[in-house]
């Protein structure tokens, strides 16, 4: 009896604590919203006067160009990672060579080597190669960081993959390429897609390498935001944040609804 009430109390305490943690995760993001309507060039809260000018600001070239640059870079990074990452996953799972340990370490390394080290090195080397301030420079540097996002899920999916399906296809006379596209690819596709999405997001949000690689004529959205936070006080960044917040919430809701439908569907089937 007393153990039961104790358990109940613990549960309520836990639920209360987690509500607080949830608020801690979300609430600070919400306080940005009023700042985006601030009439002063200040981050003071709450604003003293109100305006919509910050949103009008967003359609000026310096913001649209930064957004466009970020999108182009992130899309190319996603594509490059999808191809290179899938190749790497195949090599890691299917090769017998002991040297694959090297590949595995190499792919994981950019995630654990402090980003500032990569940033300094990339800056020194890419300056000499004339790659700073270019789309290719950004894409290459970001892709090296984002490869694990694709390799890990695809390798996991390949490992649980039933190879006899491929052998059956081959024994029926299908060429290896046809076997790949008709048998293997459909099965690992979800892993590739989710990895590619993470690679896209990783590049879209990346700031440190971007700070090194930026040039006056090529700036990505995070760099633009950072400059508007540190060199100039500009509530326009709050407008960007507000839009991004709305977008992220919408995406997460859609993703979770789809996921629950899918789960319900599998249960029913």
């Amino acid at each position: 009896m007393s153990a039961d009430t104790g358990r109940k109390a613990t549960r309520w305490a836990l639920a209360g604590l987690c509500t607080l943690i949830g608020l801690w995760l979300i609430l600070p993001l919400a306080v940005i919203v009023p700042i985006s309507f601030s009439g002063e060039d200040s981050f003071a809260f709450p604003p003293q006067s109100w305006t919509l000018a910050r949103y009008a600001n967003l359609v000026t070239p310096q913001w649209t160009q930064a957004l466009l640059n970020s999108l182009v870079v992130a899309l190319l990074v996603a594509g490059l990672c999808a191809v290179l990452g899938t190749l790497a996953a195949f090599a890691i799972v299917r090769s017998h060579s002991r040297a694959m340990v090297v590949l595995r370490l190499l792919i994981l390394a950019p995630q654990v080597v402090p980003i500032i080290i990569v940033g300094l090195g990339v800056y020194l080397v890419f300056l000499g190669w004339q790659l700073t301030g270019t789309v290719s420079g950004f894409v290459i540097a970001h892709a090296a960081l984002s490869l694990p996002f694709v390799v890990i899920p695809v390798a996991a999916s390949l490992q649980t993959f039933d190879r006899s399906l491929e052998r059956a296809s081959a024994s029926l006379g299908a060429a290896p390429v046809a076997t790949f596209f008709q048998v293997t690819f459909p099965i690992i596709r979800p892993a590739i897609l989710s990895g590619t999405l993470l690679a896209f997001l990783g590049s879209f949000d990346e700031l440190v390498l971007a700070l090194f690689l930026q040039s006056p004529t090529f700036v990505t959205l995070p760099v633009q935001l950072y400059r508007r936070m540190t060199d100039t006080i500009d509530p326009t960044i709050a407008a960007v944040a507000t839009i991004q917040l709305g977008f992220v919430i919408a995406c997460v809701i859609v993703a979770l609804v789809l996921e629950r439908r899918r789960a319900a569907g599998t249960k029913a089937g």
Binding site: G22, V113, I116, L120, L124
Partner: protein, 300 residues
């Protein structure tokens, strides 16, 4: 995601005892080549470039040999920053664990609908972007900000948070939270809670059963998450710059200053080397720990 990333569990058993795609020749090597070349050229070479500057580039008063490393360790300020980097990384790991554990645990206990909500909150915060989250905390923690409004409404004096260590830790914990909660949840989900109930039915008090049975079983998730968080925290750069002040700067910021403000590539290289060695040491230590905890699990 994070746990797999470091433990290498997913890939660890790769390539063993499978039928060769083509007998005799391991053609997968060829498939690996472009990736290897890509990473060698665009990741290994650049990183090695800055590390090697430690031994090849000297700015007065350093002249040669190990001077840059000697400079690093002989200056009080550098040692203080190195120590602070470790302390901050350790503290943020502890804090992140303290917030992440109840959250991950509750996620395993609730109805699917509530779990979806909890996941949603986590994902929104995670995908909102690191820089903007830091910005959110600047607004939140400022002297006339919402948090201080609450403090003032409760009758206390307004506190200055920005530019102090608590603000830096708050921002870092917020940014690092998903990296702890995801691997932790992955492990907690797999724990059979009937074991805890069994212990209780044998007379153990709930707290005791939780402590003796549940916590040890959650250890692998803890270690994976803590390791990832610690290693990431060692390299933090943007958050301490935005929420802290120069007095709280970490090794990454010092490195950036040596590089950009003084063009002292040799000294920056020495710091990079120290930071990298520290990171690798942390990884090795943690993998040893996790082996021990797995051995513990395996003991009947």
């Amino acid at each position: 995601m994070g746990g797999q990333l470091l433990s290498g569990g997913v890939m660890g058993t790769a390539g063993k005892a499978r039928l060769p795609f083509l007998a005799g020749i391991d053609r997968w090597w060829l498939v690996a080549l472009p990736v290897l070349a890509f990473l060698a050229l665009f990741f290994v070479y650049p990183s090695a470039t800055i590390l090697l500057r430690t031994f090849t580039r000297f700015d007065a008063p350093q002249v040669g040999g190990l001077d840059n490393l000697v400079w690093f360790f002989s200056r009080d300020a550098n040692r203080a920053i190195l120590l602070r980097t470790f302390v901050v990384a350790g503290l943020s790991t502890v804090l992140t664990s303290l917030v992440a554990f109840p959250y991950a645990y509750l996620m395993t206990q609730v109805r699917p609908a509530v779990r979806t909500l909890m996941f949603g909150v986590l994902l929104v915060s995670m995908f909102f972007g690191i820089l903007l989250r830091n910005f959110a905390w600047v607004v939140m923690l400022q002297m006339q900000g919402p948090l201080n409004d609450v403090i003032a409404a409760l009758g206390f004096e307004r506190q200055r948070f920005l530019g102090t260590m608590p603000a830096v830790l708050m921002g870092m914990t917020h940014v690092l939270f998903p990296f702890m909660v995801l691997p932790l949840y992955a492990v907690l989900r797999g724990i059979d809670t009937r074991l805890v109930l069994a212990a209780e039915s044998l007379g153990a008090r709930p707290a005791r059963a939780f402590w003796d049975i549940y916590l040890p079983l959650s250890l692998p998730g803890f270690i994976a998450g803590a390791l990832l968080v610690f290693v990431l925290a060692l390299g933090f750069f943007i958050t301490p710059a935005v929420l802290g002040s120069t007095q709280q700067s970490l090794l990454s910021q010092l490195m950036y200053a040596q590089f950009y403000r003084q063009a002292a590539f040799g000294r920056a290289g020495a710091m990079a080397l120290v930071l990298l060695v520290a990171t690798v040491a942390a990884l090795v230590l943690a993998s040893a720990l996790s082996k021990r905890s797995r051995a513990y699990e395996a003991t009947p």
